[in-house]
Symmetry: C2
Subunit: 327 residues, 2 copies
């Protein structure tokens, strides 16, 4: 299997993607990697580490799409960027998956335009992993579609369930519709209609509220991209803000520095449950190909896990399963 890795995406390129890809290749013996980026930059980084040169290759892609570039414009003008070249290879069947920690907007635009949609899919969506007390769960859409029609919620539920089961390893995943109340008739007309459509699914648990996310009352939370993006970023911000809340508590109680240290240690371990490094990156579900995006700040570990998630998507034929589920 061949996975292409954007070697010049994210805040810590080329180190994070190159190290992460090498580590992934060590964990999976049948995995071949193509690193995309300016050849000299990537090779210089690659040569720093022990690696199997039979399985790790470099493909020259001289342009770099920066994190703050206007997505559609960047994709259109930078045809020799790692993102456009990598997704072109995926489209041409020269690799089976593509991962990047680069500009999310550009990746979404390029994935949608270059790969197209899977048969039967109305709109691809960002399936974001969400920290809960039971571990990570899925929230989709996390920002690809700010306005969502009822049938799209239904497709998000189907696509999300397949990813959660086969890539995240959660058996019999449950689906919930995020809404302003638990009662069946809650929400806008679109949400009511979505509720009716979702009711056909055996694994639909009904409307869920904001308070039902952190305790993981469902495994897949479906919502529009505006709601999902705001909830996701609020959730991701909990750890660093919790540190502030706890710091005030430590001050109020006038703890000794030894006691404070102990509390901070517990907090650190507890908040590691929010660490996205463990889930690596999130997929664009519904595009015709395996395309994943990671946080800009992705570490080598996060990159490694993102590559391995792409491998799982390929091994479990996630896209074929999605097509079949929508028929």
């Amino acid at each position: 299997m061949i996975i292409a890795v954007d070697a010049v995406g994210g805040d810590f390129y080329p180190e994070s993607p190159v190290k992460g890809a090498i580590e992934a290749s060590k964990e999976h013996r049948d995995l071949n990697i193509i690193l995309l980026g300016p050849e000299e930059t990537v090779k210089r980084e690659l040569d720093k580490y022990e690696h199997d040169s039979q399985r790790i290759h470099v493909k020259h892609a001289p342009q770099v799409i920066e994190m703050d570039e206007q997505p559609a414009q960047a994709v259109k003008t930078k045809r020799d960027s790692s993102i456009v070249v990598g997704l072109g290879m995926l489209k041409a069947g020269k690799c089976e998956g593509f991962v990047s920690a680069g500009n999310t907007g550009a990746l979404l635009a390029a994935s949608t335009f270059l790969l197209g949609k899977l048969e039967g899919v109305l709109r691809p969506a960002i399936a974001a992993t969400y920290p809960t007390v039971k571990g990570f769960r899925l929230l989709m859409d996390a920002g690809a579609n700010l306005e969502v029609r009822p049938e799209m919620y239904y497709q998000f539920a189907q696509m999300g369930s397949i990813y959660v089961e086969h890539v995240m390893g959660i058996e019999n995943p449950k689906v919930g519709l995020l809404n302003v109340g638990e009662e069946d008739e809650k929400g806008t007309d679109d949400l009511k209609e979505a509720f009716d459509l979702l009711s056909d699914l055996d694994n639909f648990v009904g409307n869920l509220e904001g308070r039902d996310i952190l305790p993981a009352k469902a495994d897949v939370f479906v919502c529009d991209g505006l709601v999902g993006n705001l909830l996701l970023k609020l959730g991701e911000s909990i750890p660093e803000n919790m540190v502030q809340f706890i710091a005030k508590g430590i001050k109020t109680l006038e703890l000794s520095s030894e006691e404070a240290e102990k509390v901070v240690k517990v907090l650190k371990v507890s908040l590691s449950q929010f660490n996205y490094e463990n889930v690596g990156g999130v997929p664009f579900l519904g595009v015709n190909g395996v395309s994943l995006v990671g946080h800009g700040g992705s570490s080598p570990k996060a990159m490694k896990n993102m590559v391995l998630n792409a491998v799982k998507c390929v091994e479990h034929n996630v896209n074929d399963k999605i097509i079949a589920s929508l028929k």
Copy 2:
């Protein structure tokens, strides 16, 4: 000044509202209270506590709107309920404010139908207090309007700013528009138009993301009621879930019971910053009268603070200021 208090609203009536009202009356010597509910029930509770019978009166309202009743239906059929009678008195000028920890939907419906809208207001909204590292800030709309037109965001910003400044005591409050990114051109067409309208306000800080809420990058966060309701309930659920996260951390580190106790103590003090008792309740801004609603689980302290917030709304002529700001 006369504030009417629903003595049979919330999960802990009549104790919470009656005790809370008495405590408020002790903190504010010019305050007269009218307790609404079945006369016998309310009087029996009132007689348990020392109180100034010159300033605390009971008004018979034999019907009770339960927490799970269908709001519009309940308001229409229970004309002798504490909610309908109380808001009727407010409308008739027999009191200057009304507070309740009862059925939020019924309170919103009754406040809107019975009081009507303030001059110039397009739609009243729920202005919810939100826990942040700097203390409580305002999020509106938190659920009254699931679909919001651009001019409504503008009015939410104006109404929210006035409440935050005069009732919550935050000088020169800043307003942010919740969106999927910080850049000016982000979001739906409605959000872009709202951004343009809000740009006329001196205190508008631009688009804000989900990660900007807990650090209080603004004092008033404006959004539609679907987004606001989901964000509010997620935020409110942080403390109890954080206890779960921390419990796992304590287990992982195999702390002694003494050490664990210390950590739990810090956590308890830290999470008290989320305690809504301190802010009491939230107003329906834009209705023609001072009407506040509290959590179903409101304690006597929460009820007391809600009554005192109603007093502040009256003393600071919040509604007159809102009318003036929209001219």
